[in-house]
Symmetry: C2
Subunit: 521 residues, 2 copies
């Protein structure tokens, strides 16, 4: 089901219902880019610590826009012994909802945009009809704004600041506006004395409108309703109506309801994430670290600086996560699965020793056909991510005595995979552990090497040719980590390098220490 | 005429022809945003100096993408006494043309995107079919890359660096690749001894491909053609063919031609700008400073830091510019024209004392109907900008004795408006003078005021109420320039402020001096 801001409100009930009844949820996001650094590889060094990787992703990935969000809900139907799915494909865009709302800027990366374009991605749907959203701070701020404005209207004014102009008593109208305000008061007097119900004042500046509100509130505390109206051409003018107390109260009630609705509209897509979060259900994704980071960043709060704080926020928003790429890279799957990229994984998990999961789609929902491969549509990717999870979970059931064909999303067998998010291209740390401390591999055999920028991988192989097999993790074009295969050779390599002029070697430990020193300065 | 990368090459002749025959050109650009600062107004302070304004636009506007470029050519047809126009609407997108080409990142501003979306702008055309481009450095770099690669293939290798591996003689193949390379050599030996024409090697890494090239070049300096081929799945493998010298030369010639074409394709839309530039024709725009900056930045070179250098570059690229917004804001038009925004201007310039210019569109070109108002399509905006220019130019002819109905784009009457680009919202400097020094208005009556962020414009009016009429130019929420109407009162205001605690006043001169000091530190 495709959801834009045109059908968002009417579809929200269906989304809530699907989340409510689901056994687990699968998600996927599409972004306007991955890395604003010189290259994606600058983002993923093979020797990153979890802290370093998080810091890099936070710094170089969060200014892109998550503009398509796929959600696929999976409910196990006992009677039919199969999962029924509901798949939603949301288009998302931070359309400014008023003149004063934040004007979000986001980065696009040509290669990512071009890739999505080649897959038939519909950018017009994003930019013309994307669903808006607010994070929690913005929502709170907007709520406050409404309340403040309401208080001001009621004359009970508790503005958050004290300016020389505020205070009780007659309004201090600057000289150059006196004539204007006097004319307004004359018009209102005329209204009170004739049989008309309302009078429209001429369009004027925001400051003049404020003076009008203050003046009329002070002069006519009762019997008038004063409201700013916007014309089609976005010109704003004030409308003054004669009302009795009851009418006035009714108008204000209506206004309050309208404002609540406006607020809901502005919170927009974030409401879907709130619902997923509140459900506490298992959320499955494929290589989902960036999806989780973007989701929290866009719909909850700017990402915290420290990894530990990020873990804490994540556990609040998504209490149970499961990454199918990490699951597929872990035993017993690791030995059976050669390629863990989503499309390949999905194919392999239909073949022996795995079984293609039995699924059907719920009534009224479009069925994806995995043979048609609508890859890189977020709703489809979420769907096959869910399939991968089901197939792997069921495979675990084959080890039970007696074996079981269906393993539920709540089974103890799944728990070892909870909250471990795949870490791409880190050679010795497979995952980020969201619900605890991370693995700390020894890196005694790792050297930090700097060299002239003309060097290639082959020059490094050449340099270390005496030390057996090595593994190179490029940092930038004048430095790399080189892992030796034997620990004993570290000291020899260090000694050899002492008199070298063109390159320099440090142990990993020394390098990390000097790096920490230079950043804490 | 709509031009995307699907029809760019076949349309280029028509574009060149239109520029060639034109009397003048009108241009307009659409961008993915205007300001990456907190608000557009942060970009346009009423008291900016030309240097400050340029620096701000350079810093806060150039990371947006110019993604639609409108060009409308105007040729005066003596026989019909009217202009014939050709209008082109180019969609532009920096599609990376190879794995090693720059991966451009650009910013989008939600409000700008939303605005364009509301006008029916087709983002899919930009992102799926936009014409690529290179600036001059990138073009030179790519040309060099091609040449270097060609030299390497020929074995005459003049690589731009010296690495321990290069040099004459047998190739230094790292141990772990020796088996692989030996197998390749065996395959090539087999090829030379059998009746096949070519052999495809298995896909391998870039480093391995380099080793293969070096080895085969060294072992078989003649009789072989070695080439990297890409499969549909973007896998790269090497193809080796038996060839005699003549065939080899022919293949290389073809390859060179193909590369020249690839280079042209990569330079893409920049070729249109080069043609406009080379033509030396008058280029007309409306409020065109940002258009000019973006055009130079995207298609020539990153903008220079200093305003004077920018002026110099601009004069090289566009030797004659004319801004219709500036023209309309200058006498004799200033007194006749109340609203200089493009759409309004176009309407007013059809009415007395002006005359709607006589135009027709050239054969084979779509005619815009100004009644249909396709505003904010760059091709249309360029078209009506041209109309505005013609109408104003002709109006100047009415002052001649005898009056003339048609004034050419080369007339002396137009010269006073050359190379003066409208400066938005600067109160006392109407334009940026591209071909000379800028106006230097006195700012003795201007005060720089800082205050608590709760203050509003009205507080400033209040504060200066004793000094007559003032003009406020907000800088940010705790500072503003306040212009007094009488010079004598500057000293009085300064004296009054001496003991104030909540606010502070400096003269404009003092402020500029301390600002310069702090930035030159
Ligand atoms: N000097 C030099 N730098 C390299 C070489 N290969 C990679 N790099 C640098 O290391 C970074 C990471 O490279 P890599 O991990 O191979 O990823 P990729 O280049 O983005 O595909 C690159 O962006 C380069 O700056 C090389 O052969 N020589
Ligand atoms: N403290 C305060 N700051 C203001 C006020 N009006 C404008 N500003 C600040 O000055 C900047 C420029 O304001 P302005 O020129 O009116 O443009 P706009 O607010 O973007 O429409 C704004 O971004 C605000 O930071 C005001 O009444 N009080």
């Amino acid at each position: 089901m495709e959801i834009t801001r045109r059908n968002f409100k009417e579809s929200l009930g269906a989304v809530y219902g699907a989340v409510e009844e689901a056994d687990f949820l699968a998600i996927d996001g599409e972004f306007s880019g991955i890395s604003d650094g010189p290259s994606v590889s600058a983002l993923t060094n093979g020797m990153d610590t979890p802290e370093e990787r998080y810091a890099k992703l936070r710094k170089h990935s969060m200014d892109f826009l998550l503009f398509q969000f796929g959600l696929c809900t999976f409910r196990y139907d006992q009677a039919q012994s199969k999962y029924l799915t509901k798949s939603f494909n949301f288009y998302i865009f931070p359309k400014p909802f008023s003149r004063t709302s934040p004007d979000i800027k986001f980065i696009c990366q040509s290669s990512s945009i071009d890739f999505l374009a080649s897959q038939g991605f519909d950018f017009n749907k994003v930019f013309r009809s994307g669903i808006p959203y607010l994070n929690q701070d913005e929502e709170a701020q907007l709520r406050e704004q409404y309340e403040e404005r309401r208080n001001q209207m009621n004359g009970s004014g508790t503005p958050s600041y004290i300016s020389p102009l505020s205070g009780k008593g007659p309004v201090n109208v600057p000289d150059e506006h006196k004539d204007f305000i006097n004319r307004v008061v004359e018009k209102v007097e005329a209204l009170l004395n004739n049989s008309e119900k309302t009078v429209d004042l001429e369009p004027c500046s925001g400051f003049q409108r404020k003076l009008i509100f203050q003046t009329l509130n002070w002069k006519y505390p009762k019997g008038l309703h004063v409201e700013t109206v916007e014309t089609e051409k976005k010109e704003r003018f004030i409308q003054v109506s004669k009302v009795d107390e009851e009418e006035r109260r009714r108008i204000e009630q209506q206004k309050q309801e309208r404002e609540q609705e406006e607020l809901n509209d502005a919170v927009g897509f974030s409401r879907v994430i709130h619902a997923i979060s509140k459900s506490g259900k298992l959320v499955v994704g494929h290589n989902m670290l960036l999806d989780v980071m973007h989701t929290i960043h866009q719909f909850y709060c700017p990402l915290p600086e420290e990894l530990d704080d990020f873990k804490e926020v994540t556990m609040c928003v998504f209490p149970r996560l499961l990454d199918t790429k990490l699951m597929a890279s872990t035993q017993p799957f690791k030995d059976l699965i050669t390629n863990t990229s989503l499309a390949e994984l999905e194919k392999q998990l239909k073949e022996k020793p795995f079984k293609a999961p039995k699924v059907g789609c719920s009534e009224g929902f479009q069925c994806y056909d995995t043979a048609a491969e609508q890859l890189h549509e977020a709703g489809y990717d979420a769907y096959i991510t869910g399939l991968c999870f089901v197939s792997m979970a069921n495979y675990l059931g084959s080890f039970l005595t007696p074996p079981r064909a269906h393993i539920s999303a709540r089974s103890k067998l799944i728990e070892p995979f909870y909250n471990k998010l795949f870490l791409m291209r880190v050679v010795d740390i497979p995952y980020l552990n969201i619900s605890g401390p991370d693995l700390q591999p020894k890196r005694d055999h790792v050297l930090y090497v700097t060299f002239p920028k003309e060097w290639k991988t082959s020059d490094l192989y050449q340099l270390f040719s005496a030390f057996g097999n090595i593994q190179v993790s490029w940092i930038d074009d004048t430095s790399a980590f080189v892992s030796l295969s034997q620990l004993e050779q570290v000291q020899i390599a260090m000694n050899t390098s002492q008199y070298a002029e063109s390159y320099r070697i440090q142990t990993y430990a020394d390098y990390m220490q000097s790096k920490q020193k230079s950043t804490s300065k």
